[in-house]
Symmetry: C2
Subunit: 363 residues, 2 copies
């Protein structure tokens, strides 16, 4: 990677074994979409996310039943668990007692300083950080009014809201803080984090909220998180999709990978297929993409069908395929190792990928 | 949109009626994936792309048969046509005679100054710009060697290659130029455009090449194009996916939209669904997403299932849905207009969307 990311200097907090900020690797998190009180279903979802490389998981805790289930979930979870809590300090206390490693909780939603002090003391005693999570959909009325009157931009209001929440925690001596500033539009999200960056040194949890279903959500998240990632403002990230959490993890990891920040993911480049193409390449590229999800090595794989750019790209990859009319050349580390007929090209490249992955460390 | 984009100052070229650079709106282009010599199939693909809001279309012209088909395609195409040509100057001449509005052609691939002069004269006489398209997979050997020796980074080599191609055209007095610098990795792509930006004032065609299939390609494209878009370096863009060109257009338009640069697309925000959810929201969000593809108004639509952020987001939208247990509130411009039972919520929000779209201009 030609570019090195210079990251914003922040304090470091630890959520279980996962450090966030202070130069720690950027972690990927998601949120389960089960009812937390269904401990078995929740654990199954956490397990699936962990297998895809997720680092942290957040669980909604809206009721006492959900809080009780944490006692069963936390000890069995392969990932540190963050409890997402609103309004009710007793749920936060119950979550802490259940052993969660992180809280997401806005002290402004609690009833007064006494409750905040209590939570801060209990969280502090356990080394549990609190994320102050400002969301454009739940800004306080007072700030909403100042936006309406034109006194503040939406991003400025989000920053004011975050600083207010931070001050409430600092006032009771609590500084194990992460901050998020989520808007559902990309430009506001970017602007908010940029504005807050020079005003505190707490690590940033970054995401575009309610980004939407399918491709729409992937585009918004990749742009919003991507821009901030290249500006060094991301300490932990969450892709928020109207989809399975495993999909959020996959997209989050792909975003990190596209910024050159993963060390255990294969990359696939494949040609867009055009009028120069002489073979049916799309199913091959799609199948290689699926196949690579099982490989945990930073291989570069190219599946190309074009005589203009194909051989060049295939040669630069660890494993490459360059298709011509009815045949394909298979490359390993820049050299043609086989020439196969079209029907055999998928199996041929898979075989080379497996061999290259096994040999991977030795290069 | 709170942020305004300050764009790099460039010359302007025109591809038919579509201006590129010099402050013109950022255009979306794609490439057909048919054999161009199959004029009917190619026209059908162009038509489908035009209906999704594509501005420009590029066709591969690898043979004389493909060039001949341009005579049939160009007069019937709803979009300006760019011919993609390599090596053979006679194909470029044939494309110009067929009336194409743009060429993509690297003069370094032609045989000597005489051929370059001929193409430049014919293109110039017709007001047809030429895109110099540098692709990391087809860098000249000499530059490739300088990368290998460590004298140049890949991005620097791409920039040198582009400047060399530009000089060949300038040497014969041709300056109706666009430039692209495509790498298959995001960081190199970003670096290359950043490096070239201060070294010429030709407009930029931006994309991440061979980005791959499915979500992987969407992530890379949204990040690469997105970062450059927010830096003001994009004049026209192409999302390159191992997929249908219509999908490339859709993603390209979503990228522009996410940067706040479209005026005719509805936006959808929908909640990621979590353990707080009491209704089955995903099919509703997916169906609303599909439904909105037919609407050409800049509506903001929210489909929310969460009692924490839902009402706030739904209230801020032009049309909103906030679901509770077994029911949903439907919002229009910040006011609850209906309360419907869960099975009716999809039809209810669709109806409000149609009404709002019809009333749209009057707000």
């Amino acid at each position: 990677m030609a570019m090195t990311l210079s990251r914003r200097a922040t304090r470091r907090v630890c959520i279980g074994e996962i450090a966030v900020g202070g130069g720690a690797p950027i972690s990927v998190q998601t949120m389960t979409k089960t009812h937390t009180r269904d401990a078995a279903a929740t654990l199954a979802q956490i397990e699936a996310c962990a297998q895809l490389g997720c680092d942290l998981v957040r669980l909604a805790v809206p009721t006492a039943d959900d809080a009780r289930a944490l006692g069963e979930i936390v000890p069995r979870s392969p990932l540190p668990v963050i409890a997402d809590i609103h309004y009710d300090y007793r749920l936060a206390l119950a979550a802490l007692e259940a052993g969660v490693q992180g809280l997401r909780l806005n002290p402004g939603n609690l009833r007064g300083k006494e409750q905040i002090e209590l939570i801060a003391r209990e969280a502090g005693a356990r080394g549990v950080p609190i994320r102050v999570g400002v969301n454009v959909g739940s800004l306080p009325h007072e700030l909403r009014d100042r936006v309406k009157s034109g006194a503040l931009s939406v991003a400025e209001a989000m920053v004011e809201s975050a600083l207010g929440e931070i001050r409430l925690l600092e006032a009771v001596g609590f500084t194990q803080i992460k901050v998020s500033l989520k808007a559902s539009d990309v430009a506001t999200t970017i602007e908010a984090y940029r504005l807050l960056a020079p005003r505190c040194d707490y690590p940033f949890h970054v995401g575009v909220t309610e980004a939407g279903p399918d491709v729409r959500g992937v585009v918004k998240s990749a742009m919003g998180i991507g821009v901030l990632l290249f500006e060094g403002l991301v300490d932990t990230l969450r892709v928020s999709l109207t989809a399975d959490p495993t999909e959020e993890v996959r997209v989050g990891r792909l975003i990190l990978q596209a910024a050159g920040l993963t060390s255990d993911m294969p990359d696939l480049i494949s040609c867009p297929t055009c009028g120069r193409l002489e073979v049916d390449l799309r199913p091959v590229a799609a199948e290689v993409d699926r196949f690579l999800q099982r490989i945990r090595k930073p291989l570069k794989v190219a599946v190309m069908g074009c005589s203009v750019n194909g051989p060049g790209e295939a040669r630069e990859a660890d494993v490459g395929l360059a298709a011509g009319k009815g045949y394909a050349l298979i490359f390993r580390r820049g050299k043609v190792v086989r020439r196969v007929a079209e029907p055999e090209m998928l199996e041929a490249i898979k075989k080379e990928i497996v061999q290259e992955a096994e040999a991977g460390g030795e290069r």
